[in-house]
Symmetry: C2
Subunit: 183 residues, 2 copies
């Protein structure tokens, strides 16, 4: 990737992130962004078609970092043991915490809902590997329901964490989750 591209892309991310802490997402115009980033109008549109795509790109940037563990890529890892799954979850929480400065701005506004949607998509993959198959004692509860249940509860737990409960450590949040979830 061209250094010039990286520079402007970064400037736009930076500006957008800063703007999100001062005003609502839908109130932010492309004009605001290019003013803050100090780039030309055409430059912005050369990088992103819309404001929504910019947000999507920022989220992807964050998730790329949070979920791109070597441990995740390697298929030989065994995620069926509860311990390694718990480690993985704690790991994700740690990475999220590292990026908290970027995330908090996103969560603050109404676009937190959009961030959550993407987060759930990524989490679903992780949880899908872990969730046990249907057992007789689960009765008629569909596996897909249980998967959705666990993913949603965890994702909203993250939002709860960032929304005024930042005093807890990733390990504690992990403990809260595994102490409450039933999967």
């Amino acid at each position: 990737m061209d250094r010039r591209q990286r520079k402007t892309r970064n400037a736009i991310f930076q500006a957008f992130s800063a703007l999100l802490e001062t005003k609502r997402y839908s109130a932010i115009t492309v004009q605001d962004i290019i003013d803050a980033a100090d780039v030309g109008r055409s430059t912005f549109y050369a990088h992103f078609d819309t404001k929504e795509e910019l947000l999507r790109a920022m989220c992807d940037d964050i998730f790329e970092h949070v979920f791109s563990d070597e441990v995740m890529r390697e298929p030989e890892h065994d995620f069926s043991s509860a311990d390694s799954f718990r480690d993985r979850i704690t790991h994700i929480l740690c990475h999220l915490q590292e990026k908290q400065h970027h995330i908090k701005g996103i969560f603050a506004g109404e676009c937190g809902e959009i961030f959550m949607k993407y987060l759930r998509e990524y989490l679903r993959e992780v949880f899908d590997r872990q969730l046990p198959e249907d057992r007789p004692e689960d009765g008629a509860i569909p596996r897909d329901y249980r998967l959705n249940h666990a993913v949603s509860a965890f994702a909203e737990g993250v939002r709860w964490w960032f929304g005024g409960h930042g005093e807890y450590t990733p390990e504690q949040i992990s403990t809260f989750f595994f102490g409450t979830v039933d999967c």
Copy 2:
């Protein structure tokens, strides 16, 4: 309320609801709405300040119906017994199902996230009465975390239900939830 007001308000709701099934929420303009509802521009703004407020009003309309049970209003009812709580939840699910035609349009678009937010607010009140106080065996898990966990899991369960799993009855969804949640 003036009959004229009711009429226009209804026409706008109707038009907006219909539009939501054909295009994305953010792609819908005020112009689209007043064209479809066949009302004047100033009429729209006399009723709602923004498109967002219209959505909020529509959601409130729905929730007014879903949550306005006499059983909820009367404080003498005892929600501490698990059975009555389960009845209450099933009741809510039934009411949601009645309104499914309106809700499905909202869920379809990106404004589903906004609907979910309001839904969680209403649910939080209901769950708050039910969730037991912190018990020793819960260890250090904050009550607020458990509350958020249960509310989120249930709300997302509703979305799951409306998003392609409409074949289940309210009673079944209720069973799924109480079979999975741990509160």
